[in-house]
Structures are given as C-alpha cells and as structure tokens.
Amino acid sequence: MKIANKKVTAERLVRDALDKAKHFSDYHIFTFLNEEGAIKKAREIDAKIKRGEKVGRLAGVPYALKDNFLSPEGETTASALILEGFNSPVTATSVAKLEAEGAIMIGRTNLDAFAHGSSTENSYYGPTLNSHDKTRVAGGSSGGSAVAVALNIVEFATGTDTGGSIRQPASFNGIYGLKPTYGTISRYGVVAMASSTDCIGFFTKTPEDMDLLMSIASGQDPKDMTTLPDYYNDTKKMNVSKARIGIIKDFDNNSVHPELRKALAKKVELLKSKGHEIVELKMPALKYGLAAYYILVPAELCSNLSRHDGVRYGFRSKDSKDLDSLYENTRNEGFMSENKRRIMIGNFVLSSGFYDAYFLKAAKARTLILKEYEKAFKKCDFILTPVSPNPAFKLGEKVDDPVAMYLEDVMSVSLNLAGVPGLAIPAGETKDGLSLGLQLVGPRRSDKNLVEFAKEIQ
C-alpha cells in the first residue's frame, strides 16, 4: 500500500481518496465522509515527516471504517435508525491501534443494519452497489467496506464477520478479506451482534497488506476479556511452499454455481502443479451449520440488542405516553425488519418449551462441527472451499425471502461456530465479469500461516 513519505504527502493520499469517494457516490458506499478530520490528521503527519520525526507503519494511509466501529469521528449508526445521532465518546481498540500507526479514516461505510444480512440491502440508508456490476448486491454485511477497497478508493477497510460478513463481500468484489481466529482482535468499541462468533477483520487488495494490518491489530486487550495474547506476530512459520490442502467432498456440489465449481477445480489443479498435496475430506456435520447458526446467533443477538431502547443514546420515538411504550415504539421504529426477525427468533429459541429442541440442540451441533474441524486439521494444513454458493446476486432478488438470503451463508458460518480463521481470496471472474472468491480455512491461531500461504499462491 501507498504510505506517506517525503515524496508523497499524507494530504495528497487523503485528498485523492476523498475525491474518489465522491466520484463513486452513486454506489452508496459511505454513511459519512470524514473530510475535515482526515485532512487535519494528514497535515499533522506531513508536518512530522517534514521535521524528520518517526511516523507509524500506516502513516497517511487512507482507510474506510465499517459504521459499527465506535470513534468520535462521525456518528456510529450501524446503518440503523435506532443509533441515529450517536456520537461515540469512546474509540474502539482496533481503531485506536490503526490510528496510532498513522492510518487516517476517510469515511464510515454502509452495512446491513447491525450487520444482519448478506447483501447490505438491510441498511436504513439503502443498499451499496457491487463494484463489478451496479445491478447486483455488494454482499454483506460489510458491503460498503468491500466496495470501498475494490473500487480503489482506500487502501484497506475494516469489517466484522459473525457468519461471513467479511469473506462474502470480499469474494463478491474480488478482494482479500480475513475473518481471524476468534479472539485475535479486540471487539471493544464495536457494536455487538453475537458475542461468541463476532470477529474483527480487514479487507485488502493484497495478502501483504493483510499481514501488516494483522500484525498491528492483533493482541490482548484488557477491555475485551475474550482476546487472546498476541500469537500472530509469534507464529512458528510453516513451510507454505509444500502444504496439504483439504477439499470437502460432501458439500452439496449441485447447489454451487458451475463457474464457481470450475474456479475451485482450477485452483486445485494449480496447487497440485505447484507441489501441494490435495486431501479429500468428509465433514458431514457441516450441513447442520447453517441451522445451528441461525439459532445460536439470534439467541445471542436478541440479548445484545435489548440495550437499544431509546433512553440513553441514539434515536428516541416521540410522544410516548409512558416508559414501556417509549421502549416499544423506539424499537419498532428504529430497527429494520431483519433486525426484528432475528430478535424474535432469538426469543423464540430461548423460550421455555423450545430451548431444548432448538438452542441446546444447536449448541450440540456446534460441538460436532468443532470436532469435525479438529479432525480435518489432523489430515491437512488448510481447507479450500467457496465462500458462498453463488457470485453476487441481483439487487432485490432475495430481500423478501429471508431463508434464501440465509442460504448464502451456508459455507461461511461453520467457521464462526468453530472459531477458526478464514481468508477470502480472489479466484477470477465469471464470463459476465462477476468476481469469484474462495476461502482458505485454517486451524485456530493459524492466521499468520494462512496469510503467508495466500502470498505463496497469489
């Protein structure tokens, strides 16, 4: 990535990024442009460079921030009305780490409200358009971030991935997107969805950039008790020029788009020709991943989203006669339909009478999935699969059919349930020019080697 120095100023980099953001305004990428703040920061960095002072590893690098990361620059809305007007007094740990290295946020990006969705169509601010075809979805939930990087507006963007929200939009737009091992990057200051699967990660144009960002953002945070001590910078390097790659044989191949199947087969041939070993895997429990996910995640998020009630921050419904109606009216007006569906499903699966049949059963399915990954990684170093069954679909095609939308996540959610990392990598285009993506999956804490392997095979 381009970093500011004596020849290229941070102000130039930031102004270029802002100009491009405005040029592509019809894509609905940004919910807020940080013009004043970004230019001010750029000038501070340029002054330091001029004085010969030490600057960070991301000096003057413009980036886009998914609008569910808290920072005082711009409102943090999570693309939902209920957080309208929320100017956060706190800064997410991940944001603080990036900015300490000199990265400059030029705008906040659109998402499915509260990251509930796979297309960025569930945003209160309208859908983001795909970078390769404006009649198609950007993917989601981090659609704005993916398109900001794919259209070359910024060098990188942040994302959150609870069930595929980084990897799927990355693959819909032909870029790299990493969902790290659960606990690698602090979740402090990020709007919560499902606490046991939420992960912070990045979109980049190259695996080298991903490596740099991971080396900066990883590590334990006293403000997030589920963070792991930094292992990323301490990883014992494996020999990535000779890896064992698992291919899952019992995925329902007919449900995968033919051009995507072809892209996978081509990648497998390429890996073989480079001397990597291909291992066939059977992972029958994965087919229960999606059902388990759409039980466990709503159960967690209905609790996490109960804090949004119009009292302490954000939107408040007008003219409510008492406190109960204030809560009910605010939540009814402030959440999108998909938020309501998920909250109500969460309350359903946790209700007495249904708990054993749904929540407990899903938690058991999660154990089986976890064990299946553990077993698989005894036979191979990484697994290679599609991220989602199809390339980007048409705007409006699935928005009225929640189950059809959920099925887009069928290949991505099991990683979140198991806490293992997944890196979306570009895999060419369809004959109509839509981007295709695959994901490399590794065992827990293999993130560094996953990125190194992606460098090796790019």
Binding site: T91, S196, P222, I295, V311, L323, L326, V403, Y406
Partner: protein
C-alpha cells in the same frame, strides 16, 4: 411447528416491539419459514454430545476489582441522551 398469530404477538412483546397489523402478518410468515428451516436439526442425533456455548479457550479471566480511568465521563454520557435534567436522564412516566 406452526406459528400462530398469538405466538407472534407474544414474541413481539418479549422483544419489546409494538408491531402493526401488516407487520404481524409479514413477520409471522417469515418466522414460520425460518423456524421450518432451523427445525432440520430434529434429524440430528446428538443425545450424548456435550453442548458448546463459546469457543474461547480460557475461562474466568480475572482482574483486580478497582476503578480504572474511563474514556467517557458523566457529562459525555449524558450528552448522548435526548433529554437530561439535574445530571439524570429524563423519560416518560413509569406507572
């Protein structure tokens, strides 16, 4: 299982939503589809399997019970609410 109108109203009340008539119908329809999909777990045999609720490898992460400096003070937090008076958040009547 079949979701009835009363079930939707009950779930909406657990969720603190005041749904209008058309939402009761449309969400009822969607929830029925979703529940049908997730009910495929019925076929999974898992009687002897222990449940997994989280995938973090540590448990009981302790710290000393002391007040640490906070980024946001009382004033900054009160600034976020729609109505505040005398250092308190103002809401409509409770009873």
């Amino acid at each position: 299982m079949n979701i009835k109108r009363e079930d939707i109203i009950h779930l909406a009340s657990l969720s603190n939503f005041r749904l209008n008539e058309s939402e009761i119908d449309s969400l009822g329809h969607d929830l029925q589809d979703i529940i049908k999909y997730i009910s495929q777990l019925d076929e999974l045999k898992a009687d002897d399997v222990e449940p997994t609720y989280q995938v973090f490898e540590m448990e009981n992460v302790w710290r000393d019970d002391e007040i640490l400096p906070q980024e946001a003070d009382r004033e900054a937090l009160l600034d976020l609410t729609k109505e505040a008076k005398d250092n308190q958040i103002k809401v409509p009547k409770v009873l």
